[in-house]
């Protein structure tokens, strides 16, 4: 248990805060949080952070509750396990998910936590984590798809003082950086994260100087209470007392031959509280897909979904957490036993979006989106230049792919976009000038978005031609189960990957694989999945369908899924009417809310024929 050293032990006085000051502090906290992002983006070296923005900031209150941010760090739990003092100027670093209740969920994420002091006492906490491209271990980028324990996933840093009273622990950092393949990246990114946290601390100290620390801290209480009250009102209007709703989705496989993994989430309201229960989900995997889910993160996801539509400007915080109980069964996919492997948890993190959407959408039509691009598929490429002016130089790429946002109540899902906030793609020209590859195609694939009144976004085909030999790794999913449609919308297409070898042969790749050798001239097609459709495709304006055919987003054949027949590119009204009539006649009067595609048994039976990949075995 950490011993917190404060020269002033008097607790902050609770004082009344007028509503306008409250809104001003809320606004200032939001600005501070975005400024943290900015500092890191501008100074980071690894493409994952500097180009793609794979990082998460947080500012906490004196007790460590999040007042702005978007991850589920439990500072009290971290401090409970930390043996030592906490003083002004200290900065803690950890990458061990098992040490912080899964606030970070794999060892690639480096988490920095620092106390914010004003006049000798703690007024808050600044924290941020970022995905390091490489943290050592047996595979480049440290994410072996066949890992069975966390010990195979690189250096795992227990919580320790990177800075003690402002003084850097050079030796410890040197030991850590000696484990990784690109130490200058990690050093710069870590510097950026610390600078971002210090920026946040400075902003909070300025707020305390302006309004007084008592007012500041009291305002945080009021902001937390604002979330609490809003959520309390929402829960009773949205969910019926005593009713349980439930939703299940899947992770297709675990990288070591088992799948699909069932993920189940249920919700029951009892009085003013709600229980989120993950019972019914598959047990933990022997492979690396386990997602060690922090209870607070589950609460946060739930809250964000619930409130975003009601007041988009509200500041997220932990205030409503007492209203939400979370039950995660031990030894399950969501809470594996140490030392289970965790590196490929990005599929679980992403599928949370679909899981909450499918669950909450049942009670709130504004939230009933189809299944989206609920992942952040990874592509890695590394090697040593064989020839040319960089001969002998090491190169290492980690990048994230994007796909189809689902059809939504407000409209079509964007094609080839990110479901994650902040993330952006790495420009082709950047990749080509820093890595030995050429990108021959970067386009969305027509018809991969599910048909619907609001079409699902298309997945993307990126074709990489390799100009130097090396190895690649892929972390993806949704190659087997479908991104589902809703309210009559159809599922989106599944993802696929293959290599066209320079010798003319074609090799289909599984969705999770590493250490695949590639030679000069080989071309990898990394095709991501589409978003599901929303609403009845037969109700979509035929002219819009025709326009999308001209745009190459839907094929002429694909237009028939909307019951639209084209003749020389124009809508054939008569034939369209006829086709729509016959399609309507051949389907049930009222479509099911969710269209998950064929039954799972059928999907499994056709697996090899449809995907070219072996059928995974049922998880033990």
């Amino acid at each position: 248990m950490a011993e917190i050293i404060q020269t002033t032990t008097a607790r902050p006085q609770r004082v009344p805060v007028d509503p306008v000051t409250l809104d001003i502090i809320e606004n200032a906290l939001r600005n501070a949080r975005y400024e943290m992002d900015e500092v890191l983006f501008r100074t980071a070296l690894s493409p994952g952070i500097r180009e793609q923005h794979d990082e998460f900031p947080l500012i906490g209150d004196p007790e460590g509750r999040m007042v702005v941010g978007q991850f589920g760090l439990s500072i009290p739990a971290l401090l409970d396990r930390y043996e030592g003092t906490i003083e002004d100027g200290d900065v803690l670093l950890t990458s061990d998910p098992y040490s912080c209740d899964g606030a970070i969920s794999h060892a690639n994420d480096w988490l920095v936590v620092m106390p914010i002091y004003v006049e000798g006492r703690i007024v808050g906490w600044a924290s941020m984590f970022g995905h390091m491209s490489d943290v050592g271990g047996k595979t480049v980028c440290s994410m072996p798809t066949d890992a069975r324990t966390i010990f195979e996933e690189g250096v795992v840093i227990p919580p320790f003082k990177l800075y003690h009273r402002g003084q850097l622990n050079e030796d410890a950092l040197r030991i850590v950086l000696n484990q990784v393949r690109q130490p200058d990246w990690n050093r710069a990114d870590l510097n950026g994260i610390v600078a971002a946290c210090r920026t946040a601390a400075r902003r909070i100290q300025e707020l305390c100087a302006r309004f007084g620390a008592d007012t500041y801290v009291s305002a945080l209480d009021a902001l937390l209470d604002r979330n609490y009250q809003a959520m309390k009102a929402l829960l009773t209007t949205v969910f019926e007392d005593g009713e349980t709703i439930s939703f299940s989705d899947y992770i297709c496989d675990d990288g070591v031959g088992f799948g699909p993994y069932k993920l189940t989430l249920s919700l029951t309201r009892t009085g003013e509280k709600v229980l989120l229960d993950f019972t019914g989900s598959s047990p933990q995997s022997p492979g690396p897909i386990n997602y060690y889910l922090n209870e607070n993160l589950a609460r946060m996801f739930f809250g964000i979904y619930m409130i975003t539509v009601a007041d988009p400007q509200i500041l997220w915080n932990d205030g409503f957490y007492p209203l939400i109980d979370v039950h995660i069964p031990e030894k399950s996919f969501w809470k594996p036993d140490f030392p289970a492997a965790l590196n490929a948890r990005n599929h679980g993190v992403g599928r949370i979006f679909d899981l909450f959407g499918g669950l909450l959408g049942q009670k709130n039509p504004d939230l009933l989106n189809a299944a989206g691009f609920s992942s952040s598929p990874h592509f890695m490429y590394s090697g040593t230049y064989e020839d040319g002016e960089r001969a002998g130089e090491w190169f290492q790429l980690y990048s994230i792919g994007f796909g189809g946002i689902p059809g939504r109540p407000i409209g079509d899902g964007p094609d080839g976009h990110s479901l994650w906030p902040s993330f952006v793609n790495i420009p082709c020209e950047y990749l080509e000038s820093y890595y030995p590859l050429r990108i021959e195609r970067w386009e969305t694939v027509p018809d991969t978005g599910g048909a619907g009144l609001h079409r699902g976004g298309n997945g993307v085909d990126v074709a990489y031609r390799f100009l130097q030999p090396g190895t690649i790794a892929i972390h993806d999913d949704r190659w087997l189960t479908y991104p589902w449609g809703v309210n009559g919308g159809e599922p989106g297409a599944r993802g696929r990957k293959w290599i066209d070898r320079a010798d003319g042969s074609r090799e289909i790749l599984p969705s999770k694989v590493h250490d695949v050798h590639v030679g000069k001239g080989d071309v990898l097609h990394f095709v991501t999945w589409g978003g599901g459709g929303w609403g009845d495709p037969l109700a979509r304006d035929p002219e819009l369908v025709a326009l999308e055919v001209r745009r190459g987003l839907v094929s002429a054949d694909g237009a028939r899924r909307y019951g639209v027949v084209l003749r020389e590119g124009a809508v054939d009204a008569a034939a369209t009417g006829e086709l729509r009539g016959s399609l309507r006649a051949g389907r049930p009067a009222k479509p099911p809310v969710f269209n998950m595609g064929p039954p799972l048994a059928e999907i499994l039976a056709n697996c090899e024929a449809e995907t070219g990949l072996p059928t995974p075995r049922v998880p033990a």
Partner: protein
């Protein structure tokens, strides 16, 4: 006698300012803007101002113009139908964009994705490929692209953009396609990405080229109309605050998207200089939004990005940050959280604030100011009279929703929140760039700026707060007092170990020559020109660059130049981010900017008075400040004399603006006509 003429076209009014270059005497004309064809209003106004000065069009030497034609085309979605040529495999470069979805974790649920500026059905692929090293991987298939361009002609496109992968390294294929387009699409302007923006990052280069094409036909038509009357005397203010001849502007209109705001910043710089201040935060508050910028030693900070509405392009512009906070911003209270939100929704000019009596019911910032007694009975010299009861009714809704004790308390809350939003924008250009706002003066203008300026001075600590004379026509002043400018740039990515002083010096000289000859052709002789150099540097491997100025004299062939650049970069990095890395420095791009002489315009000098402003007292009124009603004097700005001191609380009115002086503060009238507001305690 010779005259210069400044022209600023706003949404409602067009301001014309005629300055006698010898005496500094100025004449103003205000006329209604003519949105369907702005040149009509402008030419009417020029006629009016010439009549007022008893002179003729012929005696005007130069017409300087900040225009919003390009901006409006984008904001209103009324630009040209643009065709786009990409490299095969990249047709959807604008559809995919950077895959970015704004907002938080659930932001994707509520984000309406804007349509690409060049429609996908008007985008064709060229069979060609150039490698990152300039190697021609696939030669251009000319026959194929010719057929596709004919298809675009059949589609009726009005402008063409050509943006191929890696063209920033070698633009040969783009140039060839432009030549074929000249044959197949005669009369259709072509924006070539390697000319518009020779920089790495295909999406940014493409969208910038497409934006150029999107606004080009409208800009060309407008400038043609103007040139028919004004011929070679017409100059356009670019987003970066420099002037360009009308033909140069028409060729590269994406460089003038922020022409209007740049004029305001230039005017603020000019007015503040007259009062003796050169380190400034500028604060331009209008009806729907507020623009802020930072000026150091009389030079506005230039940013590499230009943002208009949803659109961000890579084009140099005065680093103006915009927030959706203005007089028309609407206050509301979401039922669920009972928080007070102001904006970004705006009542605009129509129906406008409830006080305008044009059917607006929702409470706006202007209504809050009316309730608090800060605004006189009428605005714009009597064109708009204010309905106080309507304002009270509108703001009362907020008081009720928040459970506040009075309408005044709600109005004060609305003003506090909107001030805070604008403070956020000022922090973006100051604190977040490592500048302490207390080292700057705050120049407030725009219709609503002077009303909120004192409060923002208090929030930022930037004193004095300067209210220039005629804050409503400051843009026209800026237009009339700025200088010719051109910039040449090149992306040149090299680690410092791969570079020599001599190599970089040669690039500087080549770029300077290119810009200098443009400026010379536009009328500024070489011996009147000043050249400045800038380079963008980063640590090798970083994704963002920092711009630092370069002194060419240091490039002596001994490595002194590179060393100085490295040191300047480190100093900036330390200032911005508080740490340094051991990684090697890397040059990213090089720029040379050439300016003509700043025109001499004599300033106005007010007659000297005493400290007592009683002669300008118009009336007294009741204002609500600091939680209570109190009496305040109302002064007529036109009657104030140099040296008068207006003690707060006070309201100073003039035709196009109203200034509020808060209790504990006083405004001193500077001989140049500016009001300088400072806390009273500080002066003591």
């Amino acid at each position: 006698m010779s005259y210069r003429l400044g022209v600023d076209v706003g949404g409602t009014f067009t301001d014309i300012l005629l300055i006698d270059e010898d005496s500094g005497r100025s004449f103003r004309a205000k006329t209604s803007s003519t949105p369907h064809d702005q040149s009509v209003g402008v030419l009417t106004g020029i006629g009016k101002v010439c009549a007022a000065a008893s002179t003729s069009l012929e005696s005007i030497g130069q017409v300087m113009h900040g225009t919003t034609v390009a901006t409006n085309a984008i904001l209103e979605g009324k630009g040209a139908k643009v065709g786009l040529v990409t490299t095969a495999g990249f047709r959807q470069v604008l559809q995919i964009a950077r895959s970015f979805v704004p907002g938080g974790l659930a932001g994707w649920i509520i984000w309406p994705k804007p349509e690409p500026l060049a429609a996908l059905e008007h985008t064709v692929e060229a069979i060609e490929r150039i490698g990152a090293d300039g190697e021609i991987v696939t030669p251009l298939d000319e026959d194929d692209i010719r057929v596709k361009l004919r298809g675009l002609r059949a589609d009726g496109i009005q402008a063409l953009a050509v943006s191929l992968i890696n063209s920033y390294v070698d633009g040969a294929h783009e140039a060839r396609i432009a030549a074929i387009a000249a044959e197949e699409l005669p009369g259709v302007p072509v924006s070539v990405s390697s000319k518009v923006l020779p920089e790495l990052r295909e999406y940014e280069r493409t969208i910038t080229s497409v934006a150029n094409g999107y606004v080009q036909p409208q800009v060309a038509r407008y400038l043609d109309n103007m040139m028919r009357k004004l011929d070679k005397r017409l100059y356009i203010l670019r987003s970066d605050g420099g002037l360009a001849s009308a033909p140069a502007a028409a060729a590269n209109p994406v460089s003038m998207l922020l022409s209007g705001p740049a004029g305001g910043v230039s005017g603020a710089v000019w007015a503040a200089a007259q009062a003796g201040y050169t380190d400034l935060l500028t604060f331009d508050m209008g009806g729907t939004s507020t623009d802020v910028a930072l000026v150091q030693a009389g030079v506005p900070r230039i940013g590499r990005e230009t943002r208009v509405g949803d659109l961000t392009v890579r084009s140099s512009s005065v680093d103006v940050r915009t927030v959706g906070a203005g007089g028309g911003s609407i206050a509301h209270v979401p039922a669920l959280t009972r928080a007070l939100r102001v904006g970004p929704q705006s009542a605009g000019a129509d129906p406008g604030p409830a006080a305008y009596g044009k059917g607006g019911r929702e409470p706006t910032v202007t209504d809050a100011n009316v309730v608090l007694g800060y605004l006189p009975g009428e605005l714009a010299g009597g064109e708009i009279s204010l309905d106080r009861d309507a304002s009270r009714t509108a703001v009362a809704g907020i008081a009720e929703a928040m459970g506040l004790p009075s309408v005044e308390a709600a109005a004060a809350g609305i003003v506090d929140i909107v001030n805070e939003n604008m403070f956020g924008a000022l922090r973006l250009v100051s604190v977040q760039q490592g500048y302490d706002p207390r080292d700057f003066a705050l120049v407030a203008f725009g219709g609503a700026g002077p009303l909120h300026a004192n409060a923002l001075g208090r929030l930022t600590g930037a004193w004095p707060v300067i209210i220039p004379p005629s804050p409503g026509v400051l843009c026209a002043y800026g237009d009339a007092t700025t200088s010719l400018r051109d910039e040449a740039a090149r992306t040149y990515i090299r680690r410092f170990s791969e570079l020599t002083d001599g190599e970089l010096r040669a690039i500087f000289e080549e770029l300077a020559e290119a810009a200098a000859s443009t400026v010379e052709a536009e009328g500024a002789a070489r011996d009147e020109q000043t050249v400045t150099y800038q380079v963008d540097i980063r640590y090798h491997g970083q994704g963002f660059e920092i711009s630092v100025p370069a002194g060419i004299a240091a490039f002596d062939g001994e490595g002194g130049g590179l060393k100085a650049l490295g040191a300047a970069f480190d100093a900036e990095h330390e200032r911005l981010f508080s740490f340094l890395l051991k990684n090697e420095h890397e040059l990213v791009s090089v720029r040379a900017a050439v300016s003509g002489p700043r025109p001499h315009v004599a300033a106005v000098t007010l007659a000297q008075g005493t400290e007592d402003p009683a002669a300008a007292l118009r009336t007294t009124t009741t204002v609500y400040v600091g939680g209570e009603q109190t009496r305040a004097n109302v002064y007529d700005r036109g009657k104030l004399l140099a040296g008068n001191v207006v003690a707060g609380p006070a309201v100073v009115t003039e035709m196009d603006s109203t200034t509020l002086v808060l209790p504990g503060h006083a405004a001193t009238v500077h001989p140049s006509g500016s009001l300088l507001i400072r806390p009273v305690a500080e002066e003591a």
